[in-house]
């Protein structure tokens, strides 16, 4: 997959129109995991918009995002930063091949603050 | 012998009646906003949607139109106070009746488009053209004589 295709793919996967972002930063203003994220929610939108996806694909933030959807809820422009995070996460997982996620791999990469619901949904999603 | 197999894609003929004050202005706005819609949509300017006589709709079909769309101000916003309320009743009954006669309901449409809704005008036209194109040529309400010699 070329970079352009990957960008297009990320846009499609996220289902959100990143060009609608007016760069107000409200998403990051509300993000409960802001401090843990090396790339902030608003940057996800901005970087996808600017095609800086290599950084996104290598970042840690995708594993720290809680998928709490606060950013989606608050965005005045109907952009869904969490969906972009999700799209990057999916892409990374798919790039790793069909390994998915194994139950024994979960404990080291998460801490006990992560909601149980998220674990279940993540497991269902990545373990196919 | 080489056969010409190039198939011409069906482009429907669409007649759009637009009221001068809202929908025609909406179409103008679509134009000045460079919002495209297919060229087979041709607009006829009428002062108010209530000027559109069912005879005009039938005339369009007779002459080979594949779809007829009528656009006016949103109910309550009619430049002539109540014109579009009458339009709404007339067309509701006419469209329903045409369908009762077996005319495909997808060929007729009424949309309220304000002067500020250029984007909507374009979206409505794109959608209607697509809908009529999927349906194909109007064969049920056309007058074969007009196409003689084609």
């Amino acid at each position: 997959m070329t970079k352009e295709e990957r960008i297009e793919n990320l846009n499609r996967l996220s289902g959100t129109d990143v060009r609608k972002c007016m760069k107000c930063g409200k998403c990051s203003g509300r993000c409960p995991a802001f401090k843990e994220m090396d790339i902030k929610p608003h940057q996800f939108v901005s970087m996808l918009c600017n095609g800086k996806i290599d950084e996104l694909l290598e970042c840690e933030a995708i594993w720290n995002c809680l998928s709490c959807m606060a950013c989606v809820e608050r965005c005045p422009r109907g952009v869904a930063p969490a969906a972009v995070v999700e799209a990057v996460r999916d892409t990374v997982v798919r790039m790793q091949g069909k390994n998915g996620i194994k139950a024994e791999e979960i404990p080291p990469i998460v801490d006990e603050l992560i909601p149980q619901q998220l674990l279940v949904s993540a497991y269902r999603k990545y373990n196919k | 012998m080489q056969e010409v197999t190039e198939k011409k894609e069906f482009t429907p003929t669409i007649v759009a009646f637009c009221c001068n004050w809202c929908s025609y202005a909406g179409a103008d706005l679509a134009g000045s906003s460079r919002l495209t819609y297919p060229a087979n949509v041709k607009i006829i300017r009428v002062p108010c949607s209530c000027r559109v006589n069912p005879m005009f709709v039938l005339k369009a079909f007779q002459q080979g139109a594949d779809g007829v769309i009528l656009c006016g101000c949103h109910p309550g916003d009619c430049h002539y106070v109540t014109g579009n309320y009458y339009t709404r009743r007339r067309m509701a009954l006419l469209y329903s009746f045409l369908n009762y006669m077996g005319i495909e309901k997808e060929r007729t449409r009424l949309e309220w488009v304000s002067a500020a809704e250029g984007a909507r005008f374009s979206a409505v036209m794109n959608d209607f053209v697509k809908q009529v194109a999927e349906l194909g040529e109007n064969k049920r309400l056309t007058d074969l004589r007009v196409k003689e010699g084609e």
Binding site: - | Q63, G64, R145, V146, K147, E148, G149, E150
Partner: protein
């Protein structure tokens, strides 16, 4: 005399249809009218009166006369007439009753007289007429008044129908040619049955209420008196001015010429018109007949006085009774004849 079993009639139609166009009474949506035959259509020879008469065959309700093709600022006139005989395209008109056959004679006098109507002539020449005798006339029939024998109509071929057979007798060259075409399907016989049927039918015709109408008053010399008759006012009072009587009439021959705009230019066509209509013979100055009474009078005066005075006494009514059956308000020519025709009507 030849005959063919009723259940084989479809074979007969199919055979004719192989080389000729066949027009025959066909039932569609409950009503019987002449139409082009094709396999599967419901032929109804038993129907006494088709709604429209067979005149439609030679004088269609609408007929293109010419076209004007427009290209830029140029106009080309296109002749759309077809000489069917020349093209070898021939037709058979099947099942014509005696009255309707007589009506064609009335029309011939109009359309085939100079100047000849070539549209009519082209169709007429290309057509072989097969008539069918009546066996069950009804109360609205009065062809006998016009010296028509419903039991033995003329035509290129005359046929009779009973419960088992259609009997066939060629009268003319055209008729012989058609007989030759279908001879494999026909067998000899039937003279006796036909005679019996004729006799039986004549008995009924004698009993018909209108069989003895008195037309004696309808003479050219009485034209003015008839025209001025005060009874027209009353007779026409309920007339709606619709064209039903005219359009079901086998002898009405008036038409209007109109233009139709096409994508390429104009089609000039003619279509039946009715003297009952308020815009009939509309001219720039207005209309010559402004009231429904005048229009009503025109129609019957034409049938019973004007036409015969110009055609050796031939009435342009054949007593088919369609108007009697179809007038929405039950007005008809019989009432006119009874009112103005002569003393013996009382």
């Amino acid at each position: 005399m030849l005959k063919i079993a009723k259940e084989r009639l479809n074979e007969l139609y199919a055979k004719i249809n192989e080389s000729m166009g066949l027009f025959i009474p066909v039932k569609k949506a409950g009503e019987v009218n002449y139409a082009v035959w094709s396999e599967g259509k419901e032929v109804s020879l038993e129907t006494l009166k088709t709604v429209k008469s067979p005149k439609n065959m030679f004088f269609p309700q609408t007929e293109n006369m010419m076209k004007f093709k427009q290209e830029g600022k140029n106009i080309e006139v296109v002749d759309v007439r077809r000489d069917y005989v020349e093209e070898g395209k021939l037709f058979v008109l099947f099942g014509v009753k005696a009255c309707d056959y007589k009506a064609i004679e009335v029309l011939d006098k109009v359309f085939l007289a100079e100047p000849i109507d070539t549209y009519y002539q082209n169709r007429r020449n290309a057509t072989t007429i097969v008539t069918l005798a009546c066996s069950r006339p009804e109360e609205s029939c009065f062809c006998r008044v016009f010296d028509i024998d419903a039991t033995a109509p003329q035509g290129d071929v005359t046929t009779w129908l009973d419960n088992e057979y259609l009997y066939w007798q060629a009268n003319t060259e055209k008729g012989e040619a058609l007989t030759a075409l279908v001879k494999d399907l026909l067998e000899e016989g039937g003279e006796k049955e036909v005679e019996a049927q004729k006799e039986a039918t004549k008995v009924i015709i004698d009993k018909l209420p209108f069989s003895n109408l008195d037309l004696s008053k309808f003479q050219p010399e009485n034209l003015n008196e008839l025209f001025e008759a005060k009874e027209w006012e009353e007779m026409s009072e309920a007339c709606l001015g619709c064209g039903t009587c005219t359009f079901v009439c086998p002898t009405c021959q008036c038409f209007d010429i109109r233009d139709f705009k096409t994508h390429e230019g104009v089609i000039r066509y003619r279509c039946w018109d009715s003297c009952m209509y308020s815009d009939f013979t509309l001219m720039a100055h207005g209309n010559s007949r402004t009231t429904q009474m005048q229009r009503f009078r025109q129609r019957f005066m034409h049938k019973l006085v004007y036409y015969p005075s110009q055609n050796d006494g031939l009435y342009s009514c054949v007593g088919c009774g369609r108007c009697v059956n179809k007038c929405p308000q039950n007005l008809n020519i019989v009432k006119v004849i009874k009112t103005l025709g002569g003393k013996d009507n009382d």
